[in-house]
Symmetry: C2
Subunit: 147 residues, 2 copies
Amino acid sequence: MPQGLSIGDLADRTGLAVSAIRFYETHEIIKPVRNKGGHRRYGRHDIRRLSFVMAAQKLGFPLAEIAGHLRALPDHKAPTKADWTRISKAFRKKIDARIAALEELREKLDGCIGCGCLSLKSCALYNPKDIKAQEGPGPRNLTQLSG
Amino acid sequence: MPQGLSIGDLADRTGLAVSAIRFYETHEIIKPVRNKGGHRRYGRHDIRRLSFVMAAQKLGFPLAEIAGHLRALPDHKAPTKADWTRISKAFRKKIDARIAALEELREKLDGCIGCGCLSLKSCALYNPKDIKAQEGPGPRNLTQLSG
DNA sequence: CTAATTTCTCAAGTTAACTTGAGATCAAGG
DNA sequence: CCTTGATCTCAAGTTAACTTGAGAAATTAG
């Protein structure tokens, strides 16, 4: 039995594509070691690392931000309980903020259901000033909320 | 004074870039009429149409889906109160679903804070099977939740 | 040991949501 | 009427998050 998991093993365990795992490496999200032949070898803790990444992505967080969180964990050793607790708490705050933003928008929309959006002046949706356009090209999905 | 708003006027009113408004047109999100010179002319109701688009985008909904909602509104006439009420209600349901998904993930994460994510078997985050990978390339942000 | 897998690297393609630029035409003020 | 600014079209660039493909080397199964 070889030392550690191969990239294919990790792909099977996480459900990710092999190409995705390699891609994450270029973004400093996982840092495997290499065997004599140059093949990547992963530890069991890397499964959870990737699970965290997948969960965070499901919430719409950009990879760059996720990578930032993970930078708080050790590279090749298994993280301690304190490590994961700290990162989980920081992440929870982001989720709370996102839920709050959604609830606020839901309230505005409720007002719109009542008013039928017929009055431009009183409609909460018609509120151009507080929605600032992001600068530069590229995808926009939720990036506004993740700062 | 010319009939309707120019694309520049609309850009000023909504905060969007002129190029973005033209882009939305190729995606059937706004359908302006043209004057003799071939320039686009918009109605006042198009301001609210774009406001709706911006709000929906802020929530992470993809343009294609937003375009689908807007297809229920008349092209060149101002929508009626019933039109907007219907679309707002459908939209509200999506928001409710998204909030519910976030709250579920928050609960899982709370469990993780307690356990320190040290047990692979009991950790809610480590749950590869229920997170299916999207097929094909392209951006991933929140697209999983918007079905 | 050989054949079949798997993995390696590196370059290029993909999607979404736009932007930027070029060259031409339209519109508005003086 | 003329000039300045706004618009027009169309092609190509941008970012994020990956995938696909080619050609070569390593691993594993038999």
